[in-house]
């Protein structure tokens, strides 16, 4: 019976992921007017103080349409509403291009973006030019954003990157630890990744040109299927995310190969907003965002991803649980 259960889970996960990916989920504008995070004891460490002044400011917090982004979007949105802002959310922006456009046209006030994605996708850097240091990457991105009257806040503690993943069996069979170990065997292995991966330099194109690898085949699949194809034995290799909760929960099953030539730049998350919004919203805006992301290290982020991807909580619930357990809201 266990098999049935996992199968259904996989199916549900897939359905959910696909639905989200194509934005079937109805346009996610929801009104987050949770009043106050007023702390009854007064000075609980780090609790967000509600400032009635902020009630005049309307904010719309965006995010791209996959779980980690939605969780981040929810964390920021709920924290800002605890600080007294009137907050709405828009969680289903299809890609960074769409998100940036929404930001530039004032449809959203800000959204979380990976610094590496911003640098490569918006500002044309090669993956190897992305600074490994989180602060440097942020400063570089912020410099570019400022030219367009935008602004990026300081980065989160955690970083996320794409990674070549495989099953423990295959890694053992071919003795794979790093991506370079694939030399000579990649011709026998099939690689699965998101449709976008095929031509991206920080994905398949980079594996081919920078590592000089050739794969038996590359098959594009929806991001939500990245573990399913490994589990079903269809894929020998699959493009995963380093923050994936499956990696921690099923470490006896899946492994990721070390990216020894740095094709996949790691990205800490920076909150991107427009200068105009930041000015109008006042100092609490940046302070609140920086305050609540302090606790987001890799382990916490994996745990939050697990709540949504494995335990099927909504991003809203996961974000609330995080904010409460860290004492940011009451």
């Amino acid at each position: 019976m266990r098999i049935d259960k996992t199968r259904w889970r996989a199916l549900l996960a897939t359905l959910a992921a696909l639905a989200l990916t194509l934005g079937i989920a109805a346009c996610g504008d929801s009104d987050d007017s949770t009043t106050s995070g007023s702390t009854e004891g007064g000075e609980a460490t780090g609790a967000i103080q509600q400032n009635p002044e902020n009630g005049k400011v309307n904010l719309t917090i965006g995010s791209k349409n996959f779980p980690e982004q939605e969780i981040l979007g929810e964390i920021y949105a709920q924290a800002l509403s605890a600080a007294g802002y009137k907050v709405k959310t828009a969680h289903n922006l299809g890609s960074e291009t769409v998100a940036l456009k929404a930001l530039k046209t004032d449809q959203i006030s800000g959204y979380p973006e990976y610094a590496s994605t911003a640098l490569t996708s918006f500002f044309g850097l090669e993956p190897e030019e992305v600074p490994a240091n989180a602060d440097e990457a942020w400063e570089k991105a912020n410099e570019e954003f400022e030219k367009e009257d935008l602004q990026a806040f300081e980065p989160t503690p955690f970083a996320s990157a794409n990674a070549v993943g495989t099953t423990k069996e295959i890694a053992d069979k071919y003795d794979l630890k790093t991506v370079s170990d694939l030399e000579g065997v990649s011709e026998k292995l099939s690689l699965y990744g998101s449709p976008e991966c095929r031509q991206r330099i920080d994905c398949l194109a980079g594996l081919e040109s920078l590592y000089g690898l050739e794969f038996k085949s590359f098959t594009p699949v929806d991001i939500g299927l990245r573990y399913t194809v490994l589990e079903k034995g269809q894929a020998d290799l699959s493009i995963l995310f380093t923050t994936d909760p499956q990696l921690a929960a099923e470490s006896d099953k899946f492994v990721i190969l070390e990216d020894d030539k740095e094709v996949f730049p790691a990205g800490n998350v920076i909150f991107v907003t427009s200068k105009k919004v930041a000015e109008e919203a006042g100092p609490d805006y940046e302070e609140t965002i920086l305050q609540v992301q302090e606790g987001l290290d890799l382990k916490v982020m994996q745990e939050l991803d697990a709540r949504v991807e494995l335990e099927k909580q909504t991003p809203k619930e996961a974000a609330k649980a995080y904010l409460e357990s860290a004492g940011y809201i009451g």
Partner: protein, 237 residues
């Protein structure tokens, strides 16, 4: 540039994208789009459409004709057809992907399911609406039941049957754009991956799918004309 010109400008970029390769921010200098890739993707789209149509026809056409001939199973048929149309294709592809995996075969099957209802119902209705007296006459002349279907009912039902085939084809062709999510790289690649191809690529994909759909529709309309018996054609005096 005023608001009115913006969409037109986008259109020009898209046409350029179809015919000549463009640069992209994220590919490490490799260009994207252009005639060669556009043709490649269009062919793949036609291939998967053709395969799915073949499967749908093999299943739905004989069944619809037979049930129509017998005059049986209308309730079941209506139920099946309506249920078939109600299944969101995206969910179906996800279901098939989870059960048998991704690639050409699963996508073909999922698309075929989409094509079955219109063919099935139109074949049934087409045969049912054939004048009962004509069928009786054929039977009276000693035709076998299968000969009645082939030589009397099917020819008279051609316009309706072809109507079903045409709407199936268009539905499958249009829906094949989501195939890149399940391992088959069709024109949807241009549409899904704005990050790589840009807005021009996305619009180019939409234009190409529309052009393919109109061309197929035209070809099938011609075919229908050829197949329809002269006696059934509207007289133009």
């Amino acid at each position: 540039m005023n608001d009115f010109q913006v969409p037109l400008a986008g259109f020009g970029g898209a046409l350029e994208f179809i015919f000549s390769p463009q640069s992209s921010n994220v590919t490490g200098g490799k260009s994207v789009g252009g005639l060669e890739q556009s043709l490649d993707l269009a062919l793949k789209q036609l291939e998967v459409t053709g395969l799915a149509m073949a499967v749908a026809l093999i299943i739905a056409l004989p069944l619809g004709l037979y049930l129509g001939h017998k005059g049986k199973g209308e309730q079941v048929l209506v139920g099946v057809a309506n249920a078939g149309r109600a299944i969101p294709e995206l969910a179906l592809i996800a279901l098939v992907a989870a059960l048998i995996g991704v690639g050409l075969v699963p996508v073909t099957l999922a698309l075929a399911v989409l094509g079955i209802p219109p063919i099935l119902t139109n074949a049934y209705v087409g045969v049912r609406q054939v004048d009962a007296a004509t069928v009786d006459a054929a039977r009276g002349m000693g035709m076998s039941e299968s000969a009645i279907i082939r030589k009397v009912e099917l020819p008279l039902a051609v316009p309706t049957v072809m109507g079903g085939i045409r709407s199936s084809t268009i539905a499958i062709l249009a829906t094949a754009t989501i195939a890149p999510l399940a391992g088959v790289v069709t024109l949807g690649d241009y549409i899904i991956n704005e990050g790589i191809y840009g807005l021009d690529g996305r619009i180019a994909g939409a234009i190409l799918v529309a052009v393919l759909a109109l061309s197929l529709e035209g070809i099938l309309a011609l075919l229908q004309r050829r197949l329809t018996s002269d006696g059934l054609k509207l007289k133009t005096v």
